[in-house]
Amino acid sequence: MNDFVEEAVQAAAADMGTVQAAADAISGAIGQVKPLLSGQTWTGPAADAWEGDWNACYSAVLSCLNALPAAESSVIAGVQRQAEQFVTQHAAAARAS
């Protein structure tokens, strides 16, 4: 039954690895844009306003991406807890019968 828990955790960890890779790709793409959005590229209030708006939007994106690792760990822990509960209940039911 320990295999069942281990397999569930491994599957969740693999999925979270996929999520993190996607998040890293997005972070990398944002990182390529940011240095180009500056006074070296344009000068003028309209462009500055657009830049501010863009930065605000992507600041929220980065916050979200930064929060993902904890959320991923929480998912893996949650999956482990659910699997262990399932095993415990299953064993109890087997004993009762």
């Binding site: 969740a12 996929t18 996607a22 944002i30 959005l37 003028g44 462009a47 979200c64 993902l68 998912v75």
Partner: protein, 704 residues
């Protein structure tokens, strides 16, 4: 350049920013759905603590406009630097451009159209692809598309694209490479989107249609290939897009007829020689006529516009009389030999051994003819409607019928004959009214149907009084005996319904003053068509048997849709179209084995051919009560000697009586009061009148 939001930019860094934003757009599109989907799946199962992912989805949404907008700004910056007049303004390598997207888009769209024109003229493929990328980025941006496609050179440049691309990498029988097709696809999708999204105002829409129509006159093959690799014809929509397709098709058909089409197959690059099967296939594949007919069929409204609009009769004539293409080798650039399509009429110049011809794909031609007459109903048996499109559909039907070639000139393909049969079914009342010319109005026109002096019905056409066109049309369909039987079955079924309704509510004004009589005459015209085609007596009898079997096999519930009595006959006329062709079965050749087998002579069969639909109509209208000996499950039963004898016995007992005083009169309430002599005739008098119209009743020794 001036303006409150004018911005000084470094064109090089701006271009890098545009590229980085395009990359970010693509990365977000590829990865945000993955993150959202996986995390939501776990969270919904109770694992882990959810966090908001809304910021990711919002960023993905805005990234499309960010990338497209920055690319447009970059384009403007590059153009600013390239303009010699701006040299004095350039300080520290900075360009000055507007920033707000509306202005940027308008200027960028104009710039792209100019650059496309330059690129097409010079064959600059990279620039053509750069503009393609801009079109792709703005595929859903209706204002940008309207700005681009309303530039005067946009349509003419795009229409010439396939010619340019073909010259660059067309080889042998592959006239357009996969890369060429991709480019054409993007441009055509952009045209379709501009037509559909509604960004073009009325004048711009009209100018775009005219520009493509004119461009297709100059470059018929290239324009058709542009559209060929674009979206399905239905993607162009019902308004501007349909007009555009129809305009291009007219230009292509004109060019075909005038021998002005060139398919740029370089004969010298083909190893197998001129008449190889591969060459035939390539010609069909790259034929601009077939391309446009197929797109118009998918669009449907465009097909109707072509055959129901200006010169629709000429186009119908050309497709029906010369359903092939003729080609001649012609010298092109660098002394290479290209295929030149010449006038398809085999009697026209040029002629000679160098000319070869190829039948146009008849599935495509047949489907096009069929689509053109459908009107607002997508099916094969509509009540034809009252919209302007329906008027064009009726005009298209009339043009097809009037330009159907005689069987002595050409026997049309099965596919085209099927389209004619469908048209016959859709316009059955019109054809019936045309036989005796009973509908008001001049001859040979499409007219609005008037009921009680008011326009209150579908458009109706009336063919010329001499019935030559009608007879030619019917003969083409009747070249297949099962189709002849199908026509007779349809007419007989419709006659039955019209007779029943007229007996209940009296005659009407539209579409004819005596629709039952006109349908009887139409039946007679089909009979004449069979005789003109030299059907044997056995063949004609078999067709009659098939029609009779079809009639008696139709349950009362299918036939007894009796409309309200306000103008019942007119309403029935439109309803007739609902019981026309779809009810026609495919007949075997031994139908005499069934109902008709009970009649031991041709004369007896002729009698029953008229009596049965009349009886069926009276029963369906609730005027007489049928007897169970010959009527079961809503059908007249003639399948046994006893049932057949019982029906004939009933008929003999009834026929001498006034139709308003029949012995088995069932439910007269609501029945119209007789207004004229016709309504007070005996059943037998009417039988003889209709029988004569059907060419089934003759006097013999003073007896009918």
């Amino acid at each position: 350049m001036s303006g409150s939001d004018e911005v000084g930019v470094d064109p090089g860094r701006l271009s890098q920013a545009a590229s980085a934003l395009e990359n970010l757009r693509d990365v977000l599109a590829a990865n945000v759905p993955t993150i959202v989907s996986i995390m939501n799946e776990y969270w919904s199962s109770g694992a882990g603590s959810p966090i908001s992912l809304a910021a990711l989805q919002q960023a993905q949404q805005r990234s499309v406009e960010d990338a497209a907008g920055m690319r447009s700004r970059s384009n403007l910056a590059q153009a600013f630097m390239a303009e010699a007049v701006n040299i004095d303004l350039v300080v520290d390598g900075q360009a000055y451009i507007p920033w707000d997207l509306k202005t940027v888009d308008a200027e960028d769209a104009e710039l792209q159209a100019q650059q496309l024109a330059t690129a097409v003229n010079s064959g600059n493929r990279a620039q053509i692809q750069a503009v393609e990328q801009d079109l792709e980025d703005h595929q859903d941006d209706k204002q940008w598309l309207a700005d681009f496609w309303s530039q005067p050179q946009a349509a003419s440049s795009t229409a010439n694209l396939a010619n340019v691309l073909n010259r660059q990498d067309g080889k042998g029988l592959n006239l357009l490479s996969a890369s060429d097709q991709q480019i054409l696809s993007t441009y055509a999708r952009s045209v379709a989107a501009a037509c559909q999204l509604g960004g073009l105002n009325t004048q711009q829409a009209s100018e775009l249609t005219e520009a493509f129509t004119n461009a297709a006159s100059a470059h018929p093959w290239s324009t058709a290939m542009l559209l060929k690799y674009g979206p399905d014809g239905s993607a162009y929509g019902t308004g501007t897009g349909a007009n555009l397709l129809a305009g291009v098709t007219r230009s292509v058909l004109d060019a075909r007829e005038n021998g002005q089409l060139t398919i740029p197959i370089n004969i010298e690059q083909i190893d197998n020689g001129q008449h190889s099967k591969d060459l035939d296939q390539a010609v069909q594949n790259y034929d601009p006529t077939l391309t446009m007919l197929e797109l118009d069929t998918q669009n449907k409204i465009a097909a109707t516009q072509v055959l129901g609009g200006p010169n629709g009769g000429t186009y119908a004539y050309d497709l029906l009389h010369t359903p092939w293409a003729r080609y001649l080798e012609s010298e092109g650039p660098n002394n290479a030999q290209f295929l030149q399509a010449v006038n398809p009429d085999p009697n026209s110049e040029p002629q000679g051994p160098d000319i070869w011809s190829l039948l146009l794909n008849q599935n495509i031609v047949g489907s096009f003819l069929d689509a053109a007459t459908q009107g607002t109903d997508p099916g094969k048996a509509p009540p034809i409607g009252t919209s302007p499109l329906d008027r064009e559909a009726a005009t298209a039907a009339m043009n097809i019928i009037e330009n159907t070639p005689s069987t002595g000139t050409i026997v049309l393909s099965n596919q085209v004959r099927q389209a004619l049969l469908d048209t016959f079914g859709r316009y059955l009342p019109d054809l019936a009214a045309s036989v005796n010319g009973t509908y008001q109005g001049p001859n040979g026109q499409v007219l609005p149907a008037y009921v009680d002096g008011k326009y209150d019905g579908p458009y109706i056409f009336e063919l010329p009084d001499d019935n030559v066109a009608l007879q030619t049309f019917l003969q083409q369909i009747a070249t297949d005996s099962s189709d002849a039987a199908a026509m007779q079955a349809a007419v007989l079924t419709s006659f039955s319904r019209a007779f029943g309704v007229q007996m209940k509510y009296g005659p009407s004004s539209a579409p004819s003053s005596d629709l039952a009589n006109d349908l009887a005459s139409l039946y007679g015209e089909v009979d004449t068509a069979e005789k003109n085609l030299h059907y044997s007596a056995a063949q004609q009898e078999d067709a009659r048997n098939a029609a009779l079997n079809s009639l008696v096999s139709i349950a009362e519930s299918s036939l007894a849709v009796i409309p309200s009595p306000t103008d019942a006959v007119a309403a029935a006329a439109w309803n007739l179209q609902g019981c026309a062709l779809p009810l026609i079965p495919q007949f075997s050749t031994d139908n005499a084995a069934n109902a008709a087998a009970q009649f031991d002579s041709d004369e007896a069969l002729r009698k029953i051919m008229v009596a049965v639909p009349m009886a069926q109509g009276l029963i369906a209208a609730g005027i007489v009560k049928p007897e169970p000996e010959w009527y079961q499950d809503g059908k007249i039963n003639l399948n046994t000697p006893a049932a057949s004898a019982a029906f004939q016995s009933w008929w003999e007992a009834e026929k001498g009586h006034d139709v308003y005083q029949l012995p088995t009169l069932y439910s007269p309430p609501g029945r119209a009061v007789p207004q004229n002599d016709q309504n007070t005739q005996t059943l037998e008098t009417l039988w003889y009148q209709y029988g004569q119209g059907m060419q089934l009743a003759y006097q013999k020794d003073g007896q009918w």
